[in-house]
């Protein structure tokens, strides 16, 4: 069990009478990079948010590194969403400083500098975040989420409205995790399948709240992966 980074056991989530997830079982090991695919409304974001500890399952158990993500030490989680989760009125460096403090990042100053260099925002450090373009904001958001070197990365539509450079930044980062000793575990929810093809090593597809496919992915073309996802997510107009 201790090697399981992320666990969902018999997880169901209801919003009123509507069931977003039905009896989902998922077991992610340390270092796995998972693509969570499916049609709109299949339950991908819901499941991700359960893992993030932002919500509780209606039934079942969710474990993150062996503990309940709600109310536990969430130090180990990095979350990237299509929303920036940044304060528009703060400058780039102020945003990172704020989150560095909140997460208790050691030697914050150096870490922030390193992050800014990595996402190529160093020359904009004193720019108000609200004035950044969508793509730049997303890059900053990525920096924010890995500031504290999390062991678990959750990405919800990270590629949304990103230019190719931005997409490459993220995929390059994820690939670079390969050589790292304590490789983080990651779950990517994405509609854009192709960029993830040579990054992930497992794919899970949700269909109307249930898992319709769960298998390893040992590399392959983006087109293949897209076809696979299309087949198993089988949108309503099947």
């Amino acid at each position: 069990m201790s090697s399981s980074a992320v666990v969902a056991q018999g997880v169901s989530k209801r919003f009123g009478a509507a069931a977003a997830l039905r009896n989902v079982d998922l077991n992610l090991n340390n270092g796995e990079l998972l693509l969570l695919a499916g049609a709109n409304g299949a339950g991908k974001t819901t499941l991700l948010r359960l893992f993030a500890g932002l919500s509780r399952p209606s039934q079942g158990t969710v474990l993150l590194a062996g503990t309940n993500p709600v109310g536990s030490d969430r130090r180990g989680v990095g979350f990237v969403s299509h929303q920036s989760l940044l304060y528009d009125e703060l400058t780039v460096v102020e945003n990172l400083t704020f989150f560095a403090r909140l997460y208790g990042v050691p030697r914050a100053h150096e870490r922030i500098d390193a992050m800014l260099e990595w996402v190529e925002l160093g020359d904009r450090r004193h720019q108000r975040t609200g004035t950044l373009s969508r793509g730049l904001k997303q890059r900053l958001s990525l920096a924010r989420s890995v500031l504290h070197e999390p062991s678990i990365l959750l990405l919800d539509e990270p590629f949304a409205s990103l230019d190719r450079r931005g997409i490459r930044l993220i995929t390059r980062y994820l690939k670079s995790l390969d050589g790292v000793r304590t490789k983080p575990t990651a779950i990517i929810v994405s509609h854009e399948i192709e960029p993830t093809a040579d990054v992930i090593n497992r794919v899970v597809i949700l269909r109307r709240g249930r898992i319709s496919l769960d298998r390893a992915w040992n590399g392959g073309s983006g087109v293949e992966l897209q076809k696979l996802c299309d087949h198993f997510s089988e949108a309503e107009t099947g």
Partner: protein, 236 residues
């Protein structure tokens, strides 16, 4: 980072943001003055009438202005979903409440202090020394409103009623505090006017002390409740 450090970090962030935009305190102060203006057309508040309805008018203005602003406590965190960011961080939910409550406390106190001089000016309340006794009343009153207001503000963002939600809940709940805010203020005004005409003045009259005790108790009780219950509100 420890609990206190995290609370302070968030508090500083909110205070810095407000310092830059001044988008909460400025409208609040203006609103207080406008309410006072409107009240003036109902009753002329100078002179003897002041001690009778002045306190009530003043606190009505503070509360209504405060309620409009309190909704922003968490509504402002909905932009870019920064509330999620705060909930994801490894901080105690109660620390989030505490920091928000403290920032609201600061804003409310600031509004009170800015509104007081115009109030004295328009309603001919001479700023004699006993008026300083108003400070504890203002501070404790702000603390009570901040406690109740912050707790319910976290709910107001999830209500179809939106801005209408807070007054509905806060006003009846605040009655005990309101009574003592008004009572305490009345005592202070009374002493101030007595001083002005050279009468005997009692610094901490029984009445004032009772009201301050009530406010202190209320603030403690509500903060304690909020610290315990806050996590149930912010959970998804």
């Amino acid at each position: 980072m420890n609990y206190v450090g995290q609370t302070i970090t968030i508090l500083r962030k909110d205070l810095s943001l407000e310092w830059r935009s001044k988008e909460r305190i400025t409208p609040m102060v203006l609103f207080v003055l406008l309410i006072l203006l409107v009240f003036n057309f109902s009753f002329e508040l100078g002179g003897a009438v002041l001690s009778e309805i002045g306190p009530g008018v003043l606190w009505s203005a503070f509360i209504f202005a405060g309620l409009l602003s309190l909704h922003r406590t968490f509504a402002s965190e909905r932009q870019n979903e920064t509330l999620d960011a705060l909930l994801l961080a490894p901080i105690d939910r109660s620390a989030l409440y505490l920091s928000k409550m403290l920032s609201n406390f600061v804003f409310l106190l600031a509004v009170q202090l800015f509104s007081l001089p115009p109030f004295c000016f328009f309603f001919n309340l001479s700023p004699e020394p006993p008026l300083l006794l108003l400070l504890p009343v203002l501070v404790l009153g702000a603390a009570c409103l901040a406690a109740v207001g912050t707790l319910f503000a976290a709910m107001s963002i999830h209500s179809r009623l939106r801005e209408q939600f807070l007054p509905l809940l806060v006003l009846p709940m605040m009655v005990p505090a309101l009574i003592s805010c008004i009572g305490g203020t009345a005592e202070v005004f009374d002493q101030t006017q007595r001083f002005a005409i050279g009468d005997q003045v009692e610094i901490f009259s029984d009445g004032l002390v009772t009201h301050l005790q009530m406010l202190g108790t209320y603030a403690m009780v509500f903060n304690a409740l909020a610290l315990m219950l806050f996590e149930y509100i912010v959970e998804e």
